[in-house]
Amino acid sequence: MICTVTHLGCLKMRTKANRKSPALSLFLALLIFTAIVTGCGGIQSSLSTAGEEAERIAGLFWIMTGAGAAIWLAVMALAIYAAQSKGGEQRRPFARRLIVLGGVIPAIVLFTLLVFGLNMLPSLIAHAPATAMKVTVFGEQWWWRVRYELPGVQPFELANEIWLPEGEPVEFILRSNNVIHSFWVPSLAGKMDLIPGRVNHLTIHPKQSGVYRGACAEYCGRAHAQMNFYVVVKPKAEFDSWLKAQSGPASLTDSVEP
């Protein structure tokens, strides 16, 4: 719902009668219709956030979308106005100024955006604190091998399943010994590639308990589309007891329901 309201709020309707207004109205109607019908939610959605990184990026997205929509409308209105105007030499000075402004104003807007965007960058790519839990993920063809090697606990591996405690940062160590994959849980954070010969890392701060779905986001062969996994975020106490159970001997248990 927030999604829809933001969409509507950001779009300014113009009522100038012209040959392009049917097209414009159609376009805006389609946008709103799509947003209303589909919404933003879901367990694999970067717009329905449950992690700090995803939340920051989503905020940036909405601001840029709003600004972008406004800029698009302004440019189209200007173009339509120019096409309809009677013209003449007296418009030339204004036209020249328009060209200069067309360089200067975008430069200012872009610079502002650059500062904003760069400001967010260090926190997104930083390592987690040294005391944070580390989970190693190996990209296989076509599944995710998840290894927990934690102090005081027997190491164990999971397939396509990750459990995390709510409210604590975790550092993912990302590796592959076959092809390039990409680890992506949109509800929690941005993505990071698993590249043979390299060790990449991704820091995630899950904020809300729940089950989230991840996908492989770098084409990796035949079953790339099936290479999905689940991230289960639990309150700390439940996570700790799960951890203790995992390091015990294997037994048949129910699998995680999405």
Binding site: R19, A23, L26, F27, L30, L31, T34, A35, T38, C40, S45, L47, R56, I57, L60, F61, G68, W72, V75, M76, L78, A82, S85, G87, G88, R91, A95, R96, L98, I99, G102, G103, P106, L110, L114, F116, G117, L121, I125, Q141, V179, I180, S182, W184, P186, A189, G190, K191, M192, D193, I195, P196, G197, A215, A217, E218, Y219, R222, H224, A225
Partner: protein, 844 residues
């Protein structure tokens, strides 16, 4: 208005003279008939073939997209298997990027550029024909592979290790070798277009009077010279790993998959501007016509186009934001990627300014311009969004990017292209396309585009990655994908109507009136239908819009009152002018119909494509035959000594028929081609430096190197060959035959010995290229140098033969000039190889 150096003839020439001139022009320029039609090299004919073939590939790629959208319309669809879908999306992307988006501007330019410049043809007609045949061969090879289940399936950017170790079929090889062949042809077309724009303008068309389309094409063609070679080099590395197990991207032997990504995107990012700039160039020609006023901000546009082209080479890493690069890298490329929006925006505002000053006439081409603007600006804005690395972490490799790239490509390429087709069509055969059908096409494309791609922004952010053959239920992706698929159907309908309008029989249609849109630029001098010689006489111009500003120019051109109104010797001739001021400098005789370009393309194609099927001996044979064919082409068709020194072209101006050195178009062709070749070599050096700067063992301890002796000996000998060849140029001028033959002979020996010495380094020291990427890189560097020495050897031997048979003399010496120029680049290559082989290991 500037002063013309030469006014047109004050009086109309006698009718009988005009008739004779027209007859002679027709005899020289009439297209060949019957089967010989396919040996034609005239730009109008080759341009039509090229455009037609490109549009076929557009349709082919579009059908593949329609199939993809059918598969994705519902979750877990069984319409296509994963294997099929993976081949289909790879071929869709590859066909659209390599067989449509780039060739369409080359095809258009071959067809129309000479007319925009008041020229009769491009300077190297057989090169255009060669480009076409190469394009046909390479393109059909890729397209047909799909029917044999042998198409590549690694995505259009073919990342290793997936494509190096995990795709054992011939698909990737078809991609790597087939496209390298096409890229070479594209570079050839660029060479031709650059030289055409710089040196075959009408007298008086000074550098600031060039039509904007020509400026844009100049920038795009120059970008091709520097953008395509990194991909050619990268493709060579990947193919060597696949075929011979040389470990460029194999981590266990020192390689790195990221080198491919760097080389590919060094090509890939400028590529999209190479696609965009010539398309926006079409807009730059259409807007002034319908605004009834010269373009406002001409200089701003030119500077912005150059600026965009330049900056675009500094952005490539934004395709690699999620590979784990350091923050400073992300920040720099993020900033640059945003910055490129500024010159792009300036161009758009210049068009708006032109519409403001002018009085815009409602017309079909302008509708497409508006469609282009609306669509492209969306793409530009989402482009800025993903340039912000923080946001790209979510958007990268999702349908958000699919939405972005199609917005800029459809907005920045398809809409201008379709609009330009409606605009320029009368120049093709004198008829107009249907206004009514055109409007249907526009609305279907505009609505179809929005319905297909606008939802994809949301689809991507809601979690759908790229290149998935299906998706699960319950993620909220069903409705969005269904809407996109419905939109795709509307797009298909629009294109179907467009193709119908193009292909339908127009025999019963009336001819269009001359200059139907009332435009101001020279291509609209054309009569309806056009005559095979193009422009009747080559005008002197002094304005950007000669048809608006120069009184009676149409009559003057038609009556032969300007330059070169005749073909006295029955040959095809065009006027070469100086680069900046467009003063006449040469009357260039260009060839008529010839099959040689076809044979050259066939055998070069064999040399490139047969290795796909592991037929290495057959490929080597093709390479040898191709060399022979090209030598015959050069021998019979270039640097022909004319029957007289100078020719009178009218208005008291006599120009030479033969030029050598920097005055000759052939020398420029060699220079520009070598810029591309040296860029490929620099890309190889980039690879070496990439491994060298990574914190790895390069060279690995204990591995034998090439030593210092053999590389140094080899370099010294090649430098000797270079020096001698350039001395021979001087000796030839002095007509000292003994020194010429002696010098060339010794230089040939030095070339052979130098090449062999280079190879001796790694060979005699037992370097095994399959063992480690260091050995592979060294081997590749010396083989590259040796191949260049070999080419130099062939060229020097050619010069000996030319001199011996009297086709090269002291005065008529194009050949030795061009060969001397080639050797400059061999010298640079040899020295660079020496430094890398001998000096760098000491530094480490």
């Amino acid at each position: 208005m500037q002063h013309q150096d030469h006014e047109p003839l004050a009086e109309s020439p006698p009718i009988e003279l005009q008739r004779q001139q027209t007859e002679r022009l027709l005899r020289a320029w009439a297209p060949a008939k019957g089967w010989r039609y396919w040996s034609e090299v005239n730009n109008s004919v080759v341009g039509q073939w090229y455009t037609g073939l490109t549009i076929f590939f557009l349709a082919y790629g579009g059908v593949l997209a329609a199939l993809m959208r059918i598969q994705l319309s519902i979750p877990n669809n069984k319409f296509m298997t994963a294997e099929t879908y993976n081949q289909v999306f790879t071929v869709h992307g590859s066909v659209m990027m390599f067989l449509f988006a780039i060739p369409i501007f080359e095809a258009f330019s071959i067809m129309f550029l000479p007319q925009m410049l008041g020229a009769r043809d491009l300077p190297f007609p057989r090169l255009s024909a060669y480009g076409f045949w190469a394009f046909l061969m390479g393109g059909m090879t890729l397209c047909l592979s799909l029917f044999f289940n042998a198409a590549p399936s690694g995505g259009w950017f073919m990342y290793p290790p997936l494509t190096s170790k995990y795709e054992p079929g011939i698909g990737p090889d078809i991609w790597l070798l087939g496209f390298s062949f096409i890229e070479v042809a594209a570079i050839a077309a660029s060479v031709e277009l650059i030289i055409g724009i710089l040196k075959s303008r009408p007298p008086g068309m000074r550098i600031h009077l060039i039509p904007l389309y020509c400026w844009y094409v100049l920038v795009a063609a120059a970008m091709i010279l520097f953008a395509f070679p990194p991909l050619i080099t990268g493709s060579m590395l990947l193919e060597l790993e696949r075929a011979l197990n040389w470990p460029f991207f194999d981590v266990s032997r020192g390689g790195d998959p990221l080198l491919w990504q760097h080389l590919f995107w060094l090509f890939g990012h400028p590529e999209v501007y190479i696609v965009f700039l010539p398309s926006v160039a079409l807009v730059a020609m259409i807007v002034p016509t319908f605004a009834r006023t010269p373009i406002v901000g001409y200089s701003w546009i030119v500077l912005s186009a150059i600026g965009t082209g330049f900056i675009s080479f500094g952005l490539w890493v934004h395709h690699m934001f999620t590979t784990g690069l350091p923050g400073i890298t992300l920040a720099l490329f993020s900033a640059a990627s945003q910055a490129v929006a500024i010159p792009t925006g300036v161009q758009i505002f210049c068009f708006i300014a032109t519409m403001l000053v002018g009085r815009v006439v409602n017309s079909l081409p302008m509708m497409f311009v508006f469609g282009a603007l609306a669509t492209f600006v969306i793409g530009g804005l989402t482009g800025v969004m993903v340039a912000v690395a923080s946001f790209d972490f979510q958007a990268h490799d999702t349908y958000f990017i699919v939405a972005h790239l199609h917005s800029v490509l459809i907005g920045g390429s398809i809409f201008p292209f379709v609009g330009a087709t409606y605009y320029f069509y009368p120049l093709v055969n004198g008829k107009k396309l249907s206004e009514r059908l055109g409007r249907i096409v526009f609305w279907c494309l505009f609505i179809g585009f929005n319905v297909t791609f606008m939802p994809m922004h949301l689809t991507g952010l809601r979690g759908m990655p790229r290149r998935v053959y299906t998706y699960s239920e319950g993620l909220g992706l069903e409705t969005l994908n269904l809407i996109s698929s419905v939109g795709a159907a509307i797009l298909v309908a629009g294109f179907a109507v467009f193709f119908w309008d193009l292909l339908r029989n127009k025999d019963q249609e009336p001819l269009s009136e001359r200059n139907p849109w009332g435009a101001g630029t020279l291509e609209w001098l054309q009569e309806m239908p056009g005559k095979p010689w193009g422009v009747r006489s080559i005008p002197e111009i002094d304005s950007r819009y000669p048809l608006w500003d120069q009184a009676n120019i149409v009559r003057d051109v038609d009556e032969g009152r300007f330059f070169m109104p005749d073909a006295e010797e029955g040959k095809r001739e065009m006027l070469i002018t100086s680069v900046i001021d467009a003063k006449p400098v040469q009357c260039l005789r260009i060839p008529g119909p010839s099959y040689i370009a076809f044979w050259a393309a066939l055998f070069t194609g064999g040399a490139f494509i047969l290795p796909t099927f592991k037929l290495y001996w057959a490929a080597a044979a093709c390479a040898a035959i191709a060399t022979g064919v090209i030598l015959r082409w050069l021998w019979n068709g270039t640097a022909i000594i004319p029957e007289k020194e100078r020719k009178y072209i009218g208005h008291g101006v006599e120009v030479p028929l033969y030029a050598s050195g920097p005055d000759s178009v052939g020398w420029w062709a060699m220079l520009i081609t070598m810029l591309a070749v040296i860029t490929a070599f620099v890309s190889l050096l980039f690879g070496y430096l990439f491994y060298w700067t990574l914190d790895r063992d390069f060279p690995p301890p204990g591995m034998p190197g090439p030593g210092w002796f053999w590389p140094t000996l080899g370099t010294a000998m090649l430098m000797g060959s270079w020096a001698l060849t350039n001395l021979v140029r001087k000796w030839n001028r002095q007509d000292d035959a003994r020194l010429v033959y002696g010098g060339l002979g010794v230089s040939c020996l030095l070339a052979i010995a130098g090449g062999a010495a280079m190879i001796a380094g790694p060979y005699l020291n037992g370097m095994d290229p399959t063992q480690h990427v260091y050995a592979a890189t060294i081997w590749l560097l010396v083989i590259w140098t040796a191949i260049h020495a070999g080419l130099g050897l062939i060229m020097n031997a050619y010069c000996i033969a030319r001199r011996a048979f009297g086709r090269m003399t002291a005065k008529y010496d194009i050949d030795i000039h061009n060969v001397g120029l080639f050797w400059h680049f061999v010298a640079i290559t040899a020295v660079a190889t020496e430094i890398v082989l001998v000096v760098f290991p000491i530094l480490k």
